[in-house]
């Protein structure tokens, strides 16, 4: 396949960016999208230029590092896949492909397609945990049975990879889907109950501080989420937040 690539180039957080155009020939449909980017970079380096910087690590859809906005969609045209799982067979010979970074106030660009998502870490630090120290003598793992359905729902929420596609897809750059996934995981488990209220309050407060926008229920986040995190998590978080707010006023 022969492609025309329009790629966002930006030297640093303060620099102004622009789209660069590259022709790339001989792309195999079996390549992953990132292997295609490797090929582009190889071409650029051999020609004496500077390669396109992009985040990636596992290349199998689980680390959450890859983050490209492809033809106007977070992680490109596929559903339920990350950028690294996208294959070139999803495109046609002669296509022009636009490749941009996540765009959100809370995710400043570091270079080219690489952005700073540390805001997510700070939201987790605000309360995305169960306060239990390491010790050799917590209670036996089977001491508290957890109904399978509830455990499965907690697991589904916990599969969020923290990629930020939800934020990048939302016109308000809201992080509700990400935050609600973590809140839900713990809200669904008996171990998460003691801190349930303070957790949701602290995490939401931090989320607002980081400059993520408000949720206006458009649902674009869940459409682009590579892990199928469900909108019902947002509803659960809203309920928990309201009930915590009511109680703390008393």
């Amino acid at each position: 396949m022969n492609l025309t690539l329009k790629v966002w180039r930006q030297d640093g957080p303060e620099a102004t960016g622009h789209m660069d155009t590259h022709a790339l020939e001989g792309v195999s449909p079996d390549m992953s999208f990132l292997e295609m980017m490797d090929m582009l970079n190889d071409q650029i380096i051999r020609a004496g230029g500077e390669p396109v910087a992009f985040d990636h690590d596992c290349r199998e859809g689980i680390c959450g590092m890859c983050s490209m906005f492809i033809n106007g969609e977070a992680h490109g045209p596929g559903r339920g896949v990350t950028t690294c799982q996208l294959h070139m067979r999803s495109f046609n010979d002669g296509d022009t492909i636009a490749i941009e970074p996540w765009r959100a106030q809370a995710f400043p660009v570091i270079k080219d397609l690489t952005v700073d998502r540390s805001a997510f870490d700070r939201v987790i630090q605000a309360g995305g945990y169960i306060s239990v120290n390491t010790s050799g003598n917590t209670i036996d793992a089977n001491a508290i049975p957890v109904p399978k359905e509830q455990a499965d729902d907690a697991f589904s929420a916990a599969t969020c990879i923290g990629c930020g596609a939800c934020v990048a897809s939302c016109k308000n750059a809201s992080a509700m889907l990400f935050v609600s996934a973590k809140v839900s995981q713990f809200a669904l488990l008996p171990q998460g109950q003691p801190e349930r209220e303070s957790r949701v309050q602290r995490m939401v407060e931090q989320m607002d501080k980081e400059g993520f926008g408000n949720c206006t229920n458009t649902g674009a986040c869940a459409v682009e989420c590579p892990k199928g995190i469900d909108l019902s998590n947002i509803a659960r978080m809203n309920r928990d937040f309201m009930s915590a707010a009511v109680k703390s006023k008393k």
Binding site: P51, D57, R59, E60, C63, G64, I124, Y129, F155, T159
Partner: protein
């Protein structure tokens, strides 16, 4: 001489007695002690969180943008623990025995026993943290089986066990970061360790965003930097996984142990072309239900390769389920090294089933039928058709392995519910690593190594679901004790200064190497060299090795290393974000480590576990160990250049297990 510092006394009492006897640091003193943890995978996150909870000041580093993205996140299948919840005869002793046997009798009894002992605490700890393991309908934890064992002791969270465990450790770490007890440095790479008066007292790190070099001083340093499978270029490891931190430590005096012990995983998606950048694992758990085969007739295999026949057209009688044929007792669940070699043997003999001739089938047809029948009877269907049964069976398989099947479909563009998967062995894990004693301290005072970066527990072959167990055992339950025994001597030392001549010199050396790479102005990108190194390693130091090949590999690697330093092209500058520069530094280290691996493979004149020397095999083609001459750990001491490295032997003493020819027949 190497002192493994294994405590005296009966095997089952060693760890308990050790804990009772060690020196403790009182809580007030812990506040004035600094520890650096490099790496935030299972081993690093768990250690950093636990040490901070105990009161130490911790600094943690990772090269990714968040500690949650360490390579541990990708582990699929599960984690072992001797809980015996299934009441199938499991015990601490059995887990210990399976691990030593699975490792082909090349690991330390005392370390492995301790690992088995603490395994049960890990599951308790993780559940308390909110790790959502798979459960049965009654609400209790579910288990599955992994290769090389006859019990069900593997805990799992669908095909994302590593993710869930790492997120658990990450949340514990996040809690300590929020308390200010851990200073977390992301997008930071350790460039060297710094020695002061014979002790490791800190590191030089590079801020990958700004390119700045930083000095970090501490009373002790822990490396939890993962494995070096990427020396083969193609592996199931994440792209950034590297040997650099361990290699830098090696060059400062930490011995590298058993570097040639590499695990080649039998079930990975085969290479699709030259562009391939990494390989994807299909979890071993699939071998619970999938049957591995190739055509029994060469002409059928040829027809499949040419595309004139498909797997479905090969009659049952014309299929060779070679693992079931060769190893009736364990069948498709033989350990990884055995399964990988058997696949290579069939493909080398001309029975491979894809274009390149390097693939075998992993077939779920029998599982569809078996599960379908059970499901039909549960649902009370009378005389269901074969079609109905298969459809029901597919649903059951989907519930178990859905995400893996989807992943396969996505990559191979082929539907594994309709045709068998094609798989081939790929580099997956490195049993070798930094030599550590019972305390997990390297041969450098104050420098520790945990998780995959050390060599300690898996001998010459690791059993499935045991790496996650080891990483968390080291970080949650072993290191927090053992490091205290060392730090107890440092309570009066006071803060370590990074303003010393030693830090100055280390920083300067790092800067010079970076300048060299950036100013080299060669003609070839870093990946060009990495790919070529990978090819040499895979061909000569991969699934089977021989003297001539290894000698050739050593010469070829030296030549390639020379060419690299002359002709590598690193674009950009060293004072801003530059991933090519980061990669160049890592490949430069692989080019040294690769040579040492080949030297180690050459020196070990026996076959054991993942190390198969063609000169040493039984008439049936099984690995032939030489316990008389090779029951030792090879610890290599650096002496200026990889080729000058000196071999030091730590004899392995087996007091509780009788050494036997490993048999899975």
């Amino acid at each position: 001489m190497l002192d493994s510092k294994i405590p005296e006394g009966p095997l089952a009492d060693k760890w308990t007695k050790y804990k009772d006897d060690i020196q403790l640091v009182n809580p007030a003193n812990k506040r004035s002690i600094d520890v650096i943890v490099v790496g935030t995978g299972l081993a690093g996150s768990s250690a950093a969180a636990s040490l901070a909870e105990m009161g130490y000041n911790v600094k943690a580093l990772c090269f990714q943008d968040s500690p949650r993205r360490a390579h541990s996140i990708a582990a699929q299948g599960g984690i072992n623990a001797a809980k015996n919840y299934q009441n199938d005869g499991d015990s601490v002793h059995r887990l210990f025995y399976d691990t030593v046997k699975g490792g082909d009798y090349r690991s330390r009894e005392a370390n492995v026993h301790r690992l088995a002992e603490v395994s049960t605490n890990i599951i308790d700890q993780c559940v308390a943290q909110g790790v959502p393991f798979a459960r049965e309908y009654g609400g209790l934890l579910d288990n599955r089986s992994f290769g090389g064992v006859l019990v069900s002791r593997t805990f799992y969270a669908k095909g994302q066990t590593g993710q869930q465990l790492l997120l658990g450790a990450y949340s514990a770490l996040s809690r300590q970061i929020s308390k200010g007890k851990v200073d977390m440095l992301t997008r930071h790479e350790m460039m060297d360790v710094v020695m002061v008066d014979g002790k490791c007292r800190g590191i030089i790190a590079r801020n990958l965003v700004t390119g700045e070099l930083e000095r970090h001083a501490a009373h002790a340093v822990v490396l939890a930097t993962g494995g070096y499978g990427n020396v083969f270029f193609l592996s199931t490891n994440a792209m950034g996984s590297n040997v650099s931190a361990a290699w830098k430590a090696h060059k400062k005096g930490a011995h590298m142990a058993n570097p040639c012990f590499t695990q080649i995983h039998p079930t990975c998606i085969p290479v699709s072309g030259e562009h391939q950048s990494k390989l994807t694992l299909m979890s071993e758990s699939l071998r619970n239900d999938g049957r591995i085969w190739v055509p029994a007739k060469k002409e059928d295999a040829e027809a499949i390769r040419k595309g004139t026949k498909t797997a479905l057209e090969i009659a049952e009688a014309d299929r060779d389920y070679y693992l079931e044929r060769r190893y009736p007792a364990f069948g498709n669940l033989v350990p990884r090294d055995v399964a990988s070699r058997a696949a290579k043997e069939r493909c080398d003999a001309g029975f491979g089933v894809n274009k390149t001739g390097e693939a075998v089938f992993l077939d779920f047809a029998s599982a569809f039928k078996r599960y379908g029948k059970t499901e039909a009877s549960i649902r009370g269907l009378s005389q269901p058709s074969t079609e109905e049964i298969v459809t029901l069976g597919k649903e059951v398989v989907k519930a178990k392995y859905g995400n893996l099947f989807d992943m396969y479909k996505q990559i191979a563009a082929d539907n594994p519910y309709e045709t068998p998967m094609k798989i081939y062995p790929a580099v997956h894990y490195t049993m070798g690593g930094l030599w550590v004693d019972y305390n997990l301290m390297t041969s450098v005072s104050g420098l520790y190594a945990t998780g995959e970066s050390n060599f300690s527990d898996h001998g010459a072959n690791r059993l499935g679901a045991s790496a996650l167990m080891q990483g968390l055992a080291d970080g949650y339950f072993v290191l927090p004790y053992t490091i205290g025994d060392y730090l107890a001597n440092d309570i009066r030392t006071g803060a370590i200064s990074s303003n010393s001549a030693e830090f100055e010199a280390a920083e300067k050396a790092v800067q010079e190497r970076i300048d060299h790479l950036i100013n080299n102005n060669g003609s070839k990108p870093v990946d060009d060299f990495h790919r070529r190194l990978g090819r040499i390693m895979w061909n000569e130091c991969g699934m089977s090795r021989n003297e001539a090949g290894l000698k050739k590999a050593i010469a070829d690697i030296r030549a390639l290393r020379e060419e690299f330093w002359k002709d590598v092209r690193v674009p950009g500058n060293a004072t801003s974000y530059n991933p090519e520069l980061d990669k160049a530094g890592r490949v430069a280290d692989f080019l040294e480590q690769g040579e040492l691996m080949c030297m180690d493979a050459l020196a070990r004149e026996e076959s054991c576990g993942g190390h198969f020397r063609e000169e040493h095999q039984t008439p049936e083609g099984e690995a032939l160990r030489d316990d008389e001459n090779f029951a030792f750990v090879s610890a290599w001491e650096f002496a200026g250049d990889p080729s000058e490295s000196k071999l030091i032997k730590e004899d392995l003493v087996f007091e509780n297990i009788e050494l036997k020819q490993r048999s899975y027949k």
